[in-house]
Amino acid sequence: MRFEQFLDLVEHTPAIARRPNGEQQVCIRADPARPTMIVAGPGSGKTTVLVLRALRHMLVDGIPPERIVITTFTKKAAREIRSRLIEWGEALVDQAAAMPNLDAADQTLLRHLDVNRVVAGTLDSICQEALGSDRHADEPPLVTLEAFAANVLLQRRGRLGPVFNANQAALAGFLAPFTFDGTPPGTVGEASRALVPIVERFIQDRVDVAAFGAANQPHAHQLIAGIAADYRNYLRDNNLLDFSSLEEAMLSRLQARRVPTLLADTAVVLVDEYQDTNALQEAIYFELVLATGASFTVVGDDDQSLYRFRGATIELFRAFVARCQHRLGVAPQGPLYLVENYRSTPEIVDFFNSFVREDPNFGPARIQPPKPVIRANATASQMPVLAMFRPDAPTLANDLTGFLSDVFRGGGYRDPNGRYPDLLRRAADGGDLGDAVLLGFSVLEMQRPYFGNPPSPRFTHHLRNALMGRGMSMFNPRGRSLRDIEQVEQLLGLAILAIDPPSRQGGHLFETMTITNEAKFFMRRWVVAGRALLAAGPAAIYGRTLQQEVGEWNRFVLAGPNPNPKSSSRDWPFLDVLYGLVPWVPHFEEDPEGQVYLEAMSRAAGQAAGFSAYSGKIVRPVNPNVDDDHGKRSILAILRDVIAPIAENVIDVDEEIMPSVPRDRLNVMTIHQAKGLEYPLVIVDVGADFTMDAPKNRFRRFPDSPSATAQIEDALAPFTAELGPLRTARSGLDRSFEDLIRLFYVAFSRPQSVLMLVGCEKLRGWKSKVKHVATGWRQDQSWAWKDQTSYVGRRPPPIVSPPSIHFI
């Protein structure tokens, strides 16, 4: 099939029914013999181009789908690409098979073409499949550890505890810049949190660890290199891999030209979201292309790189042309640009175009020359960018709820000042709150608690209550830490009361343990919640009461009198305890959102079975009051390895297991989560909680020092010969500003029809000291919104009003 025929086919296939635009055609047509770099602006049909380029390889170049590899950054994005590939590919094949003038060769090709056979996924998932299915007979099965288990093993097998306790001053001082708030870690748990990204980067950034930990380096370096070595040795001796070492194993295979069977015949490599690639992944792609001679296409957008904190290295994309030439010996085509936006109204496109060009210091951080401005494909909507700023978060929540109620529950919202003529209302045929999303840097509903002070509510918490007051609700699975969810508190409280009852001689075991105060604080709170539920005497379930269930576990762990059904077994998995209590907290069995939380808790318990003493089981005691009794020790292991980590907030929820998000709830998500998504109405929180210029929240709006991630990069730069100079070409502070600008650029480019900014009125004051990148502040402390505010007379107005925004 010729390329023109392919384009005709695309246009005439009902499932697609459009011809790619000129710039898309250039990208799809680009010569496969040379590497290709595509820079795709938001809403410009990046997935369309990627999928059509893959289909072109199959239909025009005659490459079998199993020889095409497509990688992307998240599992969700991989699923979307694969789904689009199948839906479009199958439809194209059907359409082509019906073409009257198809030659015999094409007919044969089409008969055997199953686009589903493309190797598509995240790089990790492809490495896992390729290495897992391609072992030598003497190689044992590989087990890839989830992050939680890997981090626990780093602590234990890296001997972090004893090393930290013996060298606290040196280690804590070194790790201080990398902690959440820049203070030295005071506990092993806190040290571990700061250390994990460094140890991961040893591999991801391809750090010369021997040089980092050499005798002439600071003592902390040597300690950390030692911890990392012990951890890696343990993994190797036990045939375990974490995600970094999984990719490292793939690189070693490729470098040795032992390409795993799954990838051995690769003819095409298409990489999506290349701007979030790290150095190790870049090396894998180059080696794969060198080993197989595959055609190589990368797609990305430097302005949308969000994952520096996970090791993403935007600088690799920015320097792709030179790096490709150096490694592959071929100058790539490109950058080819996709800048026609099919998502948003011209008003929104103008807004985010201006935003990304506002700060002159951001210019050098972009691909040079920067990509042309994004052009809106749609006609003007007459709907300006809206903004709602109020004196405080409760007022803002209340007024925003009123707005949403007008749009989605009432007759529509009309600007009281009549500045735009039209009503803003939901779609008549089924529009609902699910057509809107609230995005923020953080969507946590409560601020972190300080000891002695209860956690204070944030804007999203007020919004939840305000919505509830108007008969609406929101879906915000990341809004509360697992440990703060009411039902989680009840269930874990009951679980503690069941296996660690206060009636034990000496009281609760957890009170005597050397775990963090933070863990104890939450465990105590859960016990109160569990006790309250127990005291309320919830209804019996098929004749069985909650008191019975908890009582039987108490008798088991304290070697109480029989008959006791729990005595039938010598040991019980802790999961049995958890699942056995779930019926009295029905949210977990009945509500899909409850399942998200139950999955996180049971995942913690299930993973503990792999590394914890007693394999995550509670054992029948002989003498429950003796310290070396296995029953007692098994409970201590559960408390330390399952319950304390949830209390310390190290277990993340995975809302992707939820098959669908309810249409009648307002979606609330972080900007990171919103990457790649689009919504008709997007509300961006640009500082609803910023009532003053508090230093502790500057990193979220206008950093005064490099972020923890930038500081890790700087600390490792001298030991990453290739990457270091590339990264440190811009200062740590510059990179921290860049990351914020990109974050809000992503947020502002999500909406289809309406963009609305919400924030605290303080951010708008003419003399405001609450600087925020998202409200137009430049790194040099000048303020675009102020510059754009015109006024008559000598006295400036009390608040700024840039003309590109309509404040309501």
């Binding site: 789904s83 199958e90 199953d114 209302r425 089924g430 529009g431 098929y542 069995e589 079975a609 098959p659």
Partner: protein
């Protein structure tokens, strides 16, 4: 301005034959919890056993392949009640099944999967030993393609519930071993698997392939229940054959084989069930009347030692299922129906946001219910299973 409706996500769902189709057929509610939400079972003993047996067969085959054969029977230092799971003693022959099995046990343990008890571990090793030493010499020389991932795309049948679809197609996948005609032709006629194939299909000739899959369980009761193990096993193999036929390098699939590993080393439970099924005419492979096997089975009392001949055990273990275009179509249509039902439940939950209402507890297997972590509040378990 009227806001558009958010474009629904188009996701082509992925279904695995064993993980999804068989689990959903067993019980819709438990499928939702264990597969939909990926909740780990508190006691993944079935998973452990199935994956251990599979791992042993796979690893031994790889060794056989790498070394150009193995000295069957491989040695086996029996696991005893006092042996804790752990590395076999120093000096153990690397081909001893304990040495082959340990890395598999270790990998499973890292995933939180353990044998239920010392007895269960002993029994698993005994069955693996039987599978490797009694079946391996017949099976390994016939394998042409091992551990091949097969997948195919199928249109989703229209829903009778008229709920919004997330896609018009679905993906079906599995992992199979394939026996080749060249390998079969090269084997002597005493090869038990070749015999079983030729018995069902005496005129087999030309280029063809046979699909093979292992079940940790016993040979199920013969019936036509679409949710029963007999029928589901048949559909599974037929669907694997269809998936294989979609591959470029495939030759026509002549038959599928299921190996029921428990039959190679039957325990008390297997013998008791065989006696019942033989008496009632519920099973297709029974000893001929009057043979020692016949008396052993019909007079079986729990607690005695089974001593069935290898020939009879192999017959019970090997089930050959002829494959044709018509049988593949029948099976894939049945699988389409199961996937359709799952998709209807997904759509129902999307609308109702209620799990129990969307996914009925409808297990057809009391053993599944007894092992289910969600039985305490389950209406089916409490009303129909408990106390029966």
């Amino acid at each position: 301005m009227e806001l558009p409706i958010k474009r629904p996500d188009r996701i082509v769902p992925d279904y695995s034959l064993t993980g999804d189709v068989l689990s959903f057929s067993r019980c819709q509610r438990s499928y939702r919890y264990y597969n939909g939400s990926a909740l780990p079972p508190s006691r993944p003993v079935q998973m452990w056993y199935g994956e251990f047996i599979h791992g042993m067969m796979e690893r031994t085959f790889r060794l056989w392949q790498d070394r150009g054969g193995l000295p069957f029977p491989l040695p086996y230092t029996p696991v005893t009640e006092n042996d804790m799971p752990g590395e076999p003693p120093a000096g153990t022959d690397p081909l001893d099944l304990r040495a082959i099995g340990w890395p598999i046990e270790q990998a499973l343990a890292h995933q939180g999967k353990f044998a239920r008890s010392a007895d269960a571990r002993i029994s698993a090793y005994e069955r693996a030993e039987a599978a490797v030493n009694q079946l391996g010499p017949h099976l390994f020389p016939l394998i042409d393609v091992a551990e091949r991932k097969v997948l195919g795309t199928r249109p989703l049948p229209a829903s009778e519930e008229h709920l919004a679809e997330r896609a018009a197609r679905y993906v079906l996948q599995g992992i199979i071993d394939v026996l080749g005609h060249t390998q079969l032709d090269g084997q002597p006629s005493e090869n038990a698997i070749k015999c079983a194939i030729l018995e069902v299909n005496p005129h087999l000739s030309g280029e063809y392939e046979i699909i093979i899959d292992y079940k940790g369980s016993r040979r199920p009761r013969v019936d036509n229940d679409p949710r029963g193990d007999w029928k589901l096993g048949e559909w599974q193999v037929q669907t694997y054959a269809w998936l294989r036929s979609q591959q470029v390098d495939a030759r026509p699939v002549a038959a599928g084989i299921l190996i029921y590993v428990s039959e190679l080393a039957p325990g008390s439970k297997e013998m008791t069930m065989l006696r019942t099924e033989m008496r009632n005419g519920w099973t297709d492979v029974v000893p001929a009347t009057g043979t020692p096997e016949y008396y052993q089975v019909s007079g079986w009392t729990p607690g005695s030692q089974a001593n069935l001949s290898l020939e009879f055990r192999l017959k019970r273990a090997i089930r050959v299922i002829p494959v044709s275009q018509a049988t593949m179509t029948e099976a894939t249509t049945a699988i389409d129906g199961v996937v359709r039902a799952i998709e209807d439940r997904v759509a129902h939950e999307r609308q109702s946001m209620q799990i129990k209402q969307s996914w009925p507890a409808d297990s057809n297997d009391d053993d599944t219910c007894v092992a289910c972590d969600f039985r305490v509040s389950c209406e089916h378990y409490n009303n129909d299973v408990r106390g029966t």
